[in-house]
Symmetry: D2
Amino acid sequence: MLVVMRHGATTAEIDRVVRTIQEMGYHAAPMPGAQRTAVGLVGNDGRVDSSRIEALPGVAQVIHVTQPYKQVSREWRPENTIVTIAPGVTVGGPEVAIFAGPCSVESEEQILTAARAVRAAGATALRGGAFKPRSSPYAFQGLGRRGLELLALAREETGLPIVTEAMDEEGAHLVAEYADCIQIGARNMQNYSLLKAVGRIDKPVLLKRGLAATIGDLLLSAEYILAEGNGRVILCERGVRTFDPASRNMFDLTAVPVVHELSHLPIIADPSHGTGNRERVTPMARASLAAGADGVIIEVHPNPDRALSDGAQSLFPDQFTELVVELREIARAIGRTVAAPPPRPADGRVDAASGPARGSSSGPAPIAVG
Amino acid sequence: MLVVMRHGATTAEIDRVVRTIQEMGYHAAPMPGAQRTAVGLVGNDGRVDSSRIEALPGVAQVIHVTQPYKQVSREWRPENTIVTIAPGVTVGGPEVAIFAGPCSVESEEQILTAARAVRAAGATALRGGAFKPRSSPYAFQGLGRRGLELLALAREETGLPIVTEAMDEEGAHLVAEYADCIQIGARNMQNYSLLKAVGRIDKPVLLKRGLAATIGDLLLSAEYILAEGNGRVILCERGVRTFDPASRNMFDLTAVPVVHELSHLPIIADPSHGTGNRERVTPMARASLAAGADGVIIEVHPNPDRALSDGAQSLFPDQFTELVVELREIARAIGRTVAAPPPRPADGRVDAASGPARGSSSGPAPIAVG
Amino acid sequence: MLVVMRHGATTAEIDRVVRTIQEMGYHAAPMPGAQRTAVGLVGNDGRVDSSRIEALPGVAQVIHVTQPYKQVSREWRPENTIVTIAPGVTVGGPEVAIFAGPCSVESEEQILTAARAVRAAGATALRGGAFKPRSSPYAFQGLGRRGLELLALAREETGLPIVTEAMDEEGAHLVAEYADCIQIGARNMQNYSLLKAVGRIDKPVLLKRGLAATIGDLLLSAEYILAEGNGRVILCERGVRTFDPASRNMFDLTAVPVVHELSHLPIIADPSHGTGNRERVTPMARASLAAGADGVIIEVHPNPDRALSDGAQSLFPDQFTELVVELREIARAIGRTVAAPPPRPADGRVDAASGPARGSSSGPAPIAVG
Amino acid sequence: MLVVMRHGATTAEIDRVVRTIQEMGYHAAPMPGAQRTAVGLVGNDGRVDSSRIEALPGVAQVIHVTQPYKQVSREWRPENTIVTIAPGVTVGGPEVAIFAGPCSVESEEQILTAARAVRAAGATALRGGAFKPRSSPYAFQGLGRRGLELLALAREETGLPIVTEAMDEEGAHLVAEYADCIQIGARNMQNYSLLKAVGRIDKPVLLKRGLAATIGDLLLSAEYILAEGNGRVILCERGVRTFDPASRNMFDLTAVPVVHELSHLPIIADPSHGTGNRERVTPMARASLAAGADGVIIEVHPNPDRALSDGAQSLFPDQFTELVVELREIARAIGRTVAAPPPRPADGRVDAASGPARGSSSGPAPIAVG
């Protein structure tokens, strides 16, 4: 940490900074310059809380040299983390993952139709919301536990692992019973109680970037999960809020190479929320893979005109089928491949239709329902 | 709601929009224009979920005429809501309120010293965090329940009602036991589980604007609380995130007249978080009242250089004393007054020092000093 | 300047940074830390262009300690600059200035009516656009030279000095012939050719903050003007662009105390553009003075419903009259006063009605037309 | 245009809106709704200036249905515009263009080395700044006319057409003498005097998006150029300013499909400025083509460590060579091709080395080397 003094700071002011640093238990190294003096703080093994020092008299600025996160950083772990969602379904390795499905689970027919369609097209995992954070209290809030049961049913039929959102601690435990990967939505990215809760659950977590979160903030939120002991975190770029109403969000694809520089965690991209508009999903999904994303998550609905939420950004099944073909081409162009869907459960062996899910997906044979 | 068709949209496309609106249970009114046709949706008594329509072929844009919130709107209730925090301590009437205290409760000595100082200077209520949302998991997270006990102790001595933050449903119930007003922090403004929880608790709520929340979003979050039955909501402008690193946040004081136009709820301003820097707090607190804010909330610490959080933006007690004098001048200039502190509990009669708090502050005599 | 090396940077990488700094003519001071090495660059007397160093192998970050601007900084000149627009009309001293008038000059009757009204209410100077930067090429672009002539006519009658915008070098010379203060609009804040041009003209300059300009950028643009020799610069906060559509712009009043910390130049505030809406102008004008602004600039139109531009944010003359009364109260509350309008030219002595203006307003008696 | 009245607006207020619309020469169509009345304005053939109406009593909101731009819109011209920069060098057709070169022209050796290197790697055109807009007046401002002469020399040797920036009207004419395409930089995107000037020059224009410009603003600025008669405009996404310091700018690649929806003009992407960092240029250049950009513009410097500007974001020639190979793969994956460089002038036949350029590049044989 470097404390920059104002031009003309007095010796007494500099001394006070030095003393304060020493009281905090660090070594202070004053460095006189041509224009200003700076005082280095040496000996910290993490981010120092600088707020005590920032407003001392004569201080112009405090500059942090050390990043505030640790376990998520590439300096902590140089090699890429590969997160396994289900046997054969990984994120962060050479294969890129494709998560697809409707915004919300609406009915048994809807989710089964969707699941079949996205599997047929080549998706690796099924997404779908049972608990929906909506900005209006009067909007459809999801089917809740019934939605989770229907997702489990869809998994039984198609073999696709399930990714679905939890909105609070109680919900996280419920989601963990049914799903293969717990999603933390953008609005809850800094809901620290929830982050700590999923940090103590033995399931992979898909952590979406908040609407006004810097990439540093996203990594700090992931650090909350790792700090509780859960290292299976997948980050997700889904657009941030800016001044331009042209799109629902501004899809910040540069987050992909930036996260790959700073962290060992995998990052996928969500062009559905990132753009908010069906016509833009295909080009931006292609761009996501070209930028190096470890996967994409795409909203697909059997009948978008009748969707209870996010219809405008949901692809028709046919569009998704074409998109997967294009994504394979892009993956090939940069030396990666699109993962194949996991094996479909053997016929006749599915008998625990809508019951709570298999054990931890890190275990050896989660779909062994027979 | 108005559905604007693209220039050159076909009759079939227009008909499909009309049919979709009818299927949704509304009346459709096509309006051909010089350049484009628009289709009005008539008969809705709230915000329609337009996502089904937005991506129909030939649709250029969907425009909402009705605001998505209801109970918080001035159209719903024209007269100002006045929220009572404690007997004699109101927000939203002609008197402006001054909430003050340290960022975090750190120790008995610290919070008592702070409480005495801010009361002596003229504060109306005591703020102080027991549960602290921090972007880093390694930063000081607050004293928890012990912090609440110390706040209650400070109230017993000074008579100042207490405002403190809750971060999850469990915490909200705990805070409600001890405090007079439950604060929802900026990072949790769209934590809908938490909003619903405090909507069912009979305590006033101080709802802070999120870092990237529009004023419309802030009102929608308040609507979640009102929709659960709790109408005692105080809004708080505390700065939003923008591109300029010159200040910690961009303090959007225009939110004050905008909220007063759109809603009957009171709004206060937080220049401490809004600016992040002690030297800027005084001018921006003055500006807050001049803009019409119903109160201010100010961080004051007995010894900011030793604060465990937010030291740089905390006022010294002397600075706060001067500030209150200036605020009285500004209030007078615009025809308001600064509220007097509530009565101090009579000497020798306080005997329930750190126990859980008095009953609901909406009741007649919460401090039960007699 | 401080060059922070990555954790694990090699000795060879550190040596290369040291050599590069030395080649650039500075002294390099390596500082090993617990986690990383940093290399200080010592001996620069201004901002070093760090781009050569930023991407050297092993470099994590380059941190600037010295601000990139000089002559505008308070370190360069500790006492406040007071800019004289016309005899008795100053900005930056204890008196606060009120600039008022219509967005555009539309006709002789309109500008004369407006000028009389704002003078009667207490304005210190007359604003009005002859050259209008409009985002659409099809919108009204101003009356051009004829507008300047009408402004000069209004000055002859009312004695109010004139502030009007220039959009290019040729226009700046024309404006300087007629007006007392040249305005550079937000869209041209980084039009460096124009900044250099007005830096060489002997007239005060009102420099408005750009839509996405940081306060640092604003000061750098002012530096362009001072670097050419013109020290009479008044800064103006007029709102920046953010994600919230609730107001036309986000009015960043904290810019006022921040500019006062960093620079000796005066800063005024423009609540008309800052809010975009008549109802919000009054509270935010009051807030501007309470925040310490050296003046305000307000749009007033004799008949806003018929204004050719910015009607929605223009005050009616009656509203402006009331506003000035309130501003006097606020100024008094913080120990300042609102300046009185300059003396009206003596009757019968005005004979150069619409001719080019008096000499430089820095001279002794510019209005002595008789 | 739709005027939405407040809930509870009086008949008199509605009538006044109707009369005002009629006075403006349009037809007014009142539409009573369940909650509010709206008044349609019918008969306009372009964007109406709504500011007169916005603040009439009882008006809640004015909604524009018609876009404010015309000639740039796809409704005006459905088929893609293909801009020819030089014989065989087009932007907007099936081939994607690659513009490359240093940020600034620094010396004859530097620009010739760079030009040879980028041509050898496969660039279609040479970029390089002779006039540099720099935020600090003390930073290197470019070589001016000498820079243009050196660019012309590089063209003579390599055959690559030249793209270079103009900062004011005088500069635009000078640039037009030497270059094949006039660049308007981000800071001048709303310098309307300059836009009008290049609208009257017979050269293609590369118009970069401003730092806080919406896509609508970008199209309106292009409209200024088309309105003056110059239809050869290429748009360029180069990142906008947001809250995240992780990258120099936020590179908004969704602008590519959005512009393709709204306009017939081609759009290229600038990942060098869009990311500000060499390591991120390659993935984001690939993403640009995958998103459908009609070309990319890349900073390449023979020796980035010694560049006078933008060294950190400039590729080494070897990196650029590899990048072009990858771009060819991506183009192929989406059914496009990377254009081949234009023919090199025949040896020994170049005799007008550094003189002003050939005629308008729209003519048949601008390089006239024979």
